[in-house]
């Protein structure tokens, strides 16, 4: 396998992960639809939560990690020829694919029980845990390979390895007799927070890749990635200075995001704004500028909403939906403008491609803003019907904005998956020429 083929494999895995997440979202809807639910081959009552776990793990964890694989491989090509053979490529891709299969099996065969814990939702079944190990191990191997570049991507890889260390330390520290919900929550709590530093680093890497120049000047780039690395690097030490089940341990990771992420995000955003407003670039076209503006706006809006969190209302999902939406927009334009042309596929510019970005970006902004406004009025998160307490017109309008925005964003997301997979399938094979 060449580096180019490895990059294509990560691309198929990441976009494919979104397609799988979409299929499970559809199955979730069907499992809640009267009469139709009885036609499904699974007991729909237990499938709902299991299907939800698969939907979240593929639309969030697998999509992000596989994109990290694509970013790293593409970056590696800058230092080596694209036809360089890689022994690690087939191993890591094989492990990741095996991991993805294992992640689906418990839901499809009604095994174990579901846990919707933070960051990495799980199913309490050995096959699912094996799937997680294969997936995380696969990206750990790719990250170890990336370290030798000693650049910004190596920083990102190192932060990912820190997250893996946190998972291992948590697993070692957790008492075996702990109740399953607490066990799974604490197992992924520390490492899950560190993964948000990885996601931020990835966003900056894809912004830089898309503009096809050094977006952030040398010392500033080191400041961005250095701050991310230093703050994330404190993560594992907390396990040595506090009991894993203590409030100190729990609160530290929340504070870590509050203090560690804003500054690098602001610096990178300022440089992107400078590029979009003032710099002439032969690669800067309307679509790229639109996608980057939407990514910038959505991501920073999410960051802003994060300053106003309080407990269990809908401001919490407003914050992370907008942040994730901003990162997703960065990933989308990275695939369309950088990865697909690199693997020999040229996306067709046109109305639908432009609309996809507007739908997804504006949809996410409306969705998150609706939730934020509702949260300000005390609407609780993850509730439905009368439990939402929509007792005035402001709350109803806010949740309406959330619903309409969500639908529009889904249309944008579906367009991305369908168009991108279609181009990849039509693009044909990459032949090994080296």
């Amino acid at each position: 396998m060449t580096l180019k083929q490895e990059c294509k494999a990560w691309t198929i895995l990441s976009v494919g992960a979104l397609a799988i997440a979409g299929v499970f979202a559809l199955l979730l809807v069907l499992s809640r639809t009267p009469y139709v639910q009885d036609l499904l081959p699974w007991p729909w009552t237990s499938f709902f939560h299991k299907g939800l776990v698969v939907h979240v793990i593929f639309s969030f964890v697998v999509w992000f990690l596989a994109t990290m694989g694509a970013v790293f491989t593409h970056r590696l090509v800058k230092h080596q020829a694209e036809q360089t053979f890689t022994k690690l490529g087939p191993v890591s891709i094989g492990l990741a694919v095996l991991g993805c299969v294992c992640l689906m099996i418990p839901a499809l065969f009604d095994l174990g029980t579901a846990e919707l814990n933070n960051y990495v939702p799980v199913m309490n079944h050995p096959i699912y845990y094996a799937g997680l190990i294969f997936l995380f191990l696969s990206l750990a191997l790719v990250s170890l390979r990336q370290l030798r570049l000693l650049d910004a991507s190596a920083c990102c890889a190192f932060i990912y390895l820190i997250a893996c260390i946190c998972f291992l330390l948590a697993w070692y520290a957790l008492p075996a007799e702990l109740a399953e919900p607490s066990f799974n929550e604490q197992l992924f709590w520390g490492g899950g927070h560190i993964l948000q530093f990885v996601n931020t680093a990835l966003l900056v890497l894809v912004w830089s890749a898309v503009v096809k120049k050094r977006l952030i000047e040398g010392p500033y780039e080191w400041a961005v990635f250095g701050i991310l690395l230093v703050f994330a690097g404190s993560g594992p030490f907390v396990y040595m200075f506090s009991d894993i089940l203590s409030q100190a341990n729990r609160d530290f990771y929340t504070a870590l995001l509050r203090y560690g992420l804003p500054l690098p995000s602001v610096i990178a955003s300022v440089f992107l704004i400078r590029f979009l407003l003032f710099e002439q670039n032969e690669h800067k076209d309307r679509l790229m500028a639109t996608a980057l503006w939407l990514s910038l706006l959505t991501y920073n809006l999410g960051g802003l909403y994060g300053l106003f969190l309080d407990g269990t209302d809908t401001r919490v999902p407003a914050h992370y939906h907008a942040v994730i939406g901003g990162i997703n927009l960065g990933f989308m334009i990275f695939y369309h403008r950088i990865v697909l042309p690199f693997i020999g596929i040229h996306p067709v510019n046109g109305r639908w491609l432009t609309l996809q970005y507007w739908f997804y970006g504006l949809g996410q902004i409306m969705h998150a803003s609706g939730m934020f406004l509702a949260g300000l009025q005390g609407v609780p998160r993850k509730t439905a019907g009368t439990a939402q307490g929509l007792d005035n017109i402001d709350k109803i309008l806010s949740m309406g904005l959330m619903g309409i925005g969500g639908l529009i964003a889904v249309v944008g997301g579906v367009l991305f998956v369908v168009m991108t997979l279609n181009w990849i399938v039509k693009g044909g094979r990459i032949h090994e020429t080296a």
Binding site: A179, F241, Q247, A248, R250, Y259, G311, T312, P380
Partner: protein
């Protein structure tokens, strides 16, 4: 690098150091004035929760998958000692900011009693919730504190 780059980078370093200091100094700080002790006799705590009235100084609240019991009814402006405990697994007691001007968030270890000084001046209903994942119905673990004149 130009001269202004040095100035900006120095500013970035200062802000990063300030955030680092804030993070380090927040480590281990628990909620103000919250004390805790192990519960030796759970049935006593349970009885206290079931027989309390708004005139008592000590009030009791039980967390369990996935409910808060009982619904607390308090008097506005009266000082209370809220005793909260989890009957089963880890939960976290969260009282919204509007109640006391600062949100309260206390991680509850099973069979441990947490004592929180509480005084709510304004009458109304204040949301409480669990902020520690505690099982598949975690998000339904909500209740309210009703404050009357």
């Amino acid at each position: 690098m130009k001269r202004h780059d040095y100035a900006i980078l120095s500013l970035i370093a200062l802000v990063a150091l300030f955030f680092g200091y804030q993070l380090a100094s927040s480590f281990g700080k628990t909620q103000k004035n919250v004390t805790y002790r192990a519960i030796e006799n759970w049935s006593d705590f349970n009885n206290n929760a079931n027989t309390q009235s708004p005139d008592d100084e000590d009030i009791y609240l039980i967390a369990r998958q996935w409910e808060w019991s009982p619904v607390l009814e308090l008097k506005a402006g009266q000082s209370y000692l809220l005793h909260v405990a989890s009957e089963d697994i880890q939960h976290a007691f969260h009282l919204e900011k509007g109640a006391t001007g600062q949100s309260i968030d206390v991680l509850l270890q099973p069979k441990t009693e947490y004592i929180i000084p509480l005084k709510i001046e304004q009458e109304g209903q204040y949301a409480i919730g669990c902020t520690q994942y505690c099982g598949i119905e975690h998000n339904k673990m909500r209740s309210r504190i009703i404050v009357r004149k």
